[in-house]
């Protein structure tokens, strides 16, 4: 590309990348702990993934293969823009295939395909502090983390149960990392929480506006908080994906018309396409495909 020379590799200058890498190394050394870092202005607004982009820019090498997803999809505005950004400023290979990627930057989903050793998942985080909505003072929340005072986290879950009869938190569901720090897994659906536990991949979290980086190293214990009599449960779906027939995956609702018609399809578009390429078909595709999966009871 002609204009590559006008940018340093991956946009950030090398000093900044070193600073961020130091923060990342510290975060890996203290799983779940929020490391402050000098977040830079990025050519995108806060809330669009400035934290994730800085983390990705700092760990990206010329040989990496980058995948970017937004709510599981490779083809939404945010994902397309960030992918194009790194193609332009780093000239790296990009992919939509989970298995081919070395770095996956994500907004609010973990791919359905289990991640492998050597892969890195970079989360975009809006509010890194899990205690924030209960305790507005940063001085106090830092102290609470330092002293492992996490009773307040359960107060939130208690309120959930007392209001709804069950824990109604469905995303940004708090977890305890390696038996020590309570962490906000970013607004991923709680469906994805179990995937974080003992994952083979490195998981990095970047919050640009809040200037925090935290991490879950490979093979780390990640436990969702709960009560003995109200144990943690993930969402379940009544029907399989309408396109690929997949079960036990996270589904998005798609409205089909203005008469209440709707279908549920895989939120992970790559996973869905991959299954369809392998001949799986859901109810909506049944008429056009020769193979049909049994609908779940």
């Amino acid at each position: 590309m002609n204009d590559l020379a006008t940018y340093n590799f991956a946009y950030l200058d090398e000093q900044t990348k070193r600073m961020i890498r130091r923060a990342i190394l510290k975060a890996i050394a203290i799983p779940g702990y929020q490391v402050p870092f000098a977040s830079r202005e990025m050519p995108m607004p806060y809330g669009w993934g400035t934290g994730g982009v800085q983390v990705t820019a700092s760990i990206l090498g010329p040989d990496d293969v980058l995948k970017v997803i937004d709510q599981g999809a490779d083809d939404t505005t945010n994902a397309v823009s960030i992918r194009a950004f790194f193609q332009k400023v780093a000239n790296v290979a990009v992919t939509t295939k989970t298995v081919e990627a070395t770095i996956i930057q994500t907004r609010h989903r973990i791919p359905e395909e289990p991640l492998k050793e050597g892969q890195t998942l970079v989360y975009q985080v809006p509010i890194p502090e899990p205690l924030r909505f209960l305790e507005p003072r940063e001085t106090e929340t830092r102290k609470m983390h330092a002293l492992e005072e996490y009773g307040l986290m359960h107060v939130k879950l208690y309120e959930d149960i007392s209001r709804n009869g069950h824990i109604a938190t469905t995303y940004a569901y708090p977890v305890k990392v390696e038996g020590r720090y309570v962490m906000d897994p970013s607004p991923t659906p709680k469906f994805d929480n179990p995937k974080m536990h003992m994952s083979e991949a490195l998981q990095l979290f970047g919050a640009g506006r809040e200037k925090r980086i935290y991490a879950v190293p490979p093979f780390t214990e990640v436990v969702s908080l709960d009560f003995e009599d109200h144990p943690f449960e993930i969402q379940t779906f009544e029907k399989p994906c309408a396109l690929c027939g997949a079960e036990n995956v996270y589904l998005d609702e798609v409205v089909l018309d203005d008469r209440g018609g709707r279908m549920f399809v895989c939120s992970d578009t790559d996973h869905c396409e991959d299954r369809r390429a392998h001949g799986h078909a859901g109810s909506m595709l049944a008429s056009t495909q020769h193979q049909r999966k049994e609908p779940a009871e």
Partner: protein, 258 residues
Amino acid sequence: MSAVPLLKVRDVSKFYGSRIGCRNVSFELYPGEVLAVVGESGSGKTTLLSCLSTRLMPSSGMIEYHMRDGQYRDLAHMGEAARRFLMRTDWGFVHQNPADGLRMTVSAGANVGERLMAVGDRHYGNIRASASDWLRRVEIGEDRIDDQPRAFSGGMRQRLQIARNLVTSPRLVFMDEPTGGLDVSVQARLLDLVRGLVHDLGLAAIIVTHDLAVARLLSHRMMVMKDGAVIEQGLTDRVLDDPREPYTQLLVSSILQV
């Protein structure tokens, strides 16, 4: 009564620059004993309470607490983690303004249950049952368990604050003007409640108040403070019925008779 003091206070002073907060305060508090600290505003009683409850570091002197393991610990040399743990398990602190001691935006049940969750209770049903039991004990209808204290009257808030503090069965409770700002009829009910709970639970308490009637009703012993120093102390009825010091006589003679 137990033979060993719960709290040993020796020569505690607190200076704000050259100004005196309190000076050379010494006393011992035994389990089940209620001590009232009286004096007018500015006499140093709140400073003393802050020092005792580790909310302020004394300029000099020593405060030792008899831990549940039987050891005395110097509060100034305790780690912050241990001190905060003590404050939410073995101690209670009832603020004059309930909003300072409650979480106003979470339900009454969660306010009471928070301390249980903080010490590792992870059974929702049990936590709720305890909360419900404590609301009943402080005379708050169990049907209010899911209401936020924002919707409560001043007296109810204060009772909720007391329940929130007592749920972990503390051995020592600090109270800062617990009836301040309440209507007289509401005060009477609260005093009666506190009196009953202190008696039933065998709590030791240090109550700071400028209201001698509160001291008379709740405390076994009292200390009168003036200009940062304790000028008279003794059995509550002795100090009130036979005050020795000029200032104490003035205080006692200033009580309005109804």
